[in-house]
């Protein structure tokens, strides 16, 4: 026991948070704003309690920082090495992830539109695409590093391949959901194939497309980071993780993971916001 008082304080905080949460969860307020507030408070309090417990246990029992650094130490590292983290973020996220994500999703979308014109190709590509989506595509990383070199281009290539298939499969599936009634209506308007596509089938496919965009936003970050384990210039989030692990600077690794988690959640949130404004008509977004 190195710091028993801190441990006890943290445990008390955790118990208090737990007790408050139990009380809060049982309340059923009349006003909706209060209900939203409670629904927001509970997970935040839970997260804070978890952080406090983490801090208390690591500091209280004197857990070696190599094993698990306390959150305060990680936060200190984040604030102290902002420039390194920013450079890594720029290399991995702003260059590799965004370029690869845009190309992979765009390509998947275009191929889906092309394939959609022919039932034969659709029947052929869907099973293959579904199969490939389940494969460990991340394994092509060493090949891409060989082909496109150490810089961000090879990481973007991995991201392109990883994001292509989910987008393809989801878009093709989405283009089929427009109902017969609506199609017949468009038919009576004498709409052309393209009008049918842009005014009916693409809007109807949007929930599926956004689903793919969401899946891909996480996949893209994973792809770029893991591809950097196979060879990279001396900058980048994957490089930072594998290099600092070698020197047992675990707090720096946690700092990088924090940045990755932040980037992942923010991009997911942005896509979800965009989805809500575009697919405002969808049942899951109505009546809120």
């Amino acid at each position: 026991m190195e710091n028993p008082t801190l441990l006890i304080i943290c445990i008390i905080f955790w118990l208090a948070a737990w007790f408050t949460n139990t009380r809060l969860a049982k309340m059923s307020p009349k006003s909706t704003t209060l209900a939203t507030l409670i629904n927001l408070t509970i997970p935040v309090l839970f997260g804070a309690a978890l952080l406090a417990l983490w801090e208390g246990i690591t500091r209280g029992f004197g857990v070696p920082t190599v094993l698990l650094p306390p959150p305060s130490m990680i936060w200190e590292r984040i604030t102290n090495s902002g420039s390194i983290l920013w450079a890594d973020f720029r290399q991995t996220y702003l260059k590799a992830v965004i370029a690869g994500y845009a190309m992979g999703c765009g390509l998947g979308f275009l191929v889906a539109i092309l394939v959609d014109r022919s039932p034969f190709w659709k029947a052929g590509i869907m099973p293959v695409g579904n199969l490939v989506s389940a494969l460990p595509i991340i394994g092509i990383a060493p090949i891409m590093v060989m082909w496109f070199g150490f810089d961000w281009q090879s990481k973007a290539a991995v991201v392109v391949v990883m994001t292509f298939f989910p987008m393809l499969v989801n878009t093709v599936a989405g283009l089929n959901v427009a109902g017969h009634m609506e199609r017949d209506l468009m038919h009576t308007y004498a709409s052309s194939k393209w009008q049918m596509l842009f005014k009916l089938r693409l809007p109807a496919a949007m929930p599926f497309i956004f689903n793919a965009l969401k899946i891909n936003s996480t996949l893209a970050l994973i792809g770029a980071i893991v591809a950097e384990f196979f060879g990279t210039p001396v900058v980048g989030m994957g490089f930072r993780i594998s290099a600092e692990i070698g020197r047992l600077n675990v707090d720096m690794v946690w700092a990088t993971i924090f940045v990755a988690a932040l980037a992942g959640s923010i991009s997911y949130g942005l896509i979800a916001l965009l989805e809500r404004s575009i697919t405002f008509w969808h049942p899951s977004n109505r009546g809120r």
């Binding site: 737990w18 997970p43 190599v66 293959v128 389940a134 460990p136 970050l221 989030m237 949130g269």
Partner: protein, 290 residues
């Protein structure tokens, strides 16, 4: 029926193989020209083309080269040999399965807790959804190295990563599945004066089984990815991930591709097995195929 489905799929597969061959010829041609130039000789396209299919370290190996390599390293080597892909695949598979079983059990327990407790539901669920947006795989090397440094080596660290990756889909799917019984059925159970445990075993669990298998398909694929990535930082000792890393260190492209294809076959069969068991169970439980 089968003809309608098989023909398009076979066409696509044939097309992929054709593109692969064309790509191999195109990408490897430059090397043949460079070789010829070095010894001061001119080669025609028709002379260079066959050679592109049989290079030692091609930029892109031709499909038959990979097939031969896989045959040699699986069927013609004894299974215990370190050069056997069966040996490496087994190492990866055992970590995958261990992690998958742990992850599934953990996910189900968590889902049962969330379904039965409002506090858990409100405090855990937002975090579980947020955690889906985080590139968890980035933690893999740290888990391996940290567990190694306290003396835990071998299967367990890799299985830990697989557990981590596979329990999220199961937890999310099972929360949905266990909450899916219709209000009308729940009311019926109430009129029977059923206890919580009875509602769980006789209504919630059976309705959740299809959800369980759908999430298990995702989970087992994620679990395999976790095991492969988990083999990277330990310095290429054994397993499919290690074969990938060793191949990339020494420029052995044929080795990389064969490890990749074996990993793909493994993933495909694992997902297929889970799917088949799920379909069989659904039929036994009297459910129609959707």
């Amino acid at each position: 029926m089968i003809k309608d489905r098989a023909l398009p799929v076979l066409t696509v597969v044939a097309l992929i193989i054709a593109i692969w061959y064309a790509g191999a010829a195109l990408l490897n041609l430059q090397f043949e020209y460079d070789q010829a130039e070095r010894i001061g000789k001119q080669v025609s396209l028709s002379e260079a083309l066959p050679k592109t299919m049989a290079q030692e370290r091609p930029v892109l190996p031709a499909p038959h080269q990979v097939a031969v390599e896989i045959w040699q390293t699986t069927a013609e080597k004894s299974i215990t040999s370190k050069r056997s892909l069966v040996y490496h695949a087994w190492i990866t598979l055992s970590a995958t399965m261990l992690g998958f079983v742990f992850g599934t059990v953990l996910g189900i327990i968590l889902a049962v807790g969330i379904i039965h407790s409002r506090v858990l539901d409100k405090s855990l669920m937002p975090w579980i959804i947020t955690s889906q947006t985080i590139p968890i795989l980035a933690i893999a090397p740290m888990i391996i190295v940290v567990l190694n440094s306290i003396g835990i080596t071998g299967l367990v660290p890799k299985a830990t990563i697989s557990t981590y990756l596979s329990f999220f889909p199961v937890a999310v799917g099972m929360v949905k599945g266990l909450g899916s019984p219709d209000a009308i059925n729940m009311d019926l159970m109430r009129t029977f004066n059923a206890s919580r445990a009875q509602v769980f075993w006789k209504l919630r669990w059976p309705t959740a089984v299809p959800y369980l298998f759908t999430s298990m398909k995702i989970a087992i694929a994620a679990s395999l990815v976790g095991a492969i990535v988990g083999e990277l930082p330990t310095g290429a000792v054994a397993g499919l991930g290690a074969r990938l890393l060793a191949g990339s260190y020494y420029g052995q492209t044929v080795q990389i591709w064969s490890a990749l294809i074996v990993a793909a076959i493994l993933a495909g069969s694992l997902v297929a097995i889970v799917g088949l068991v799920g379909a069989w169970l659904n039929r036994r439980m009297g459910m129609r195929e959707a």
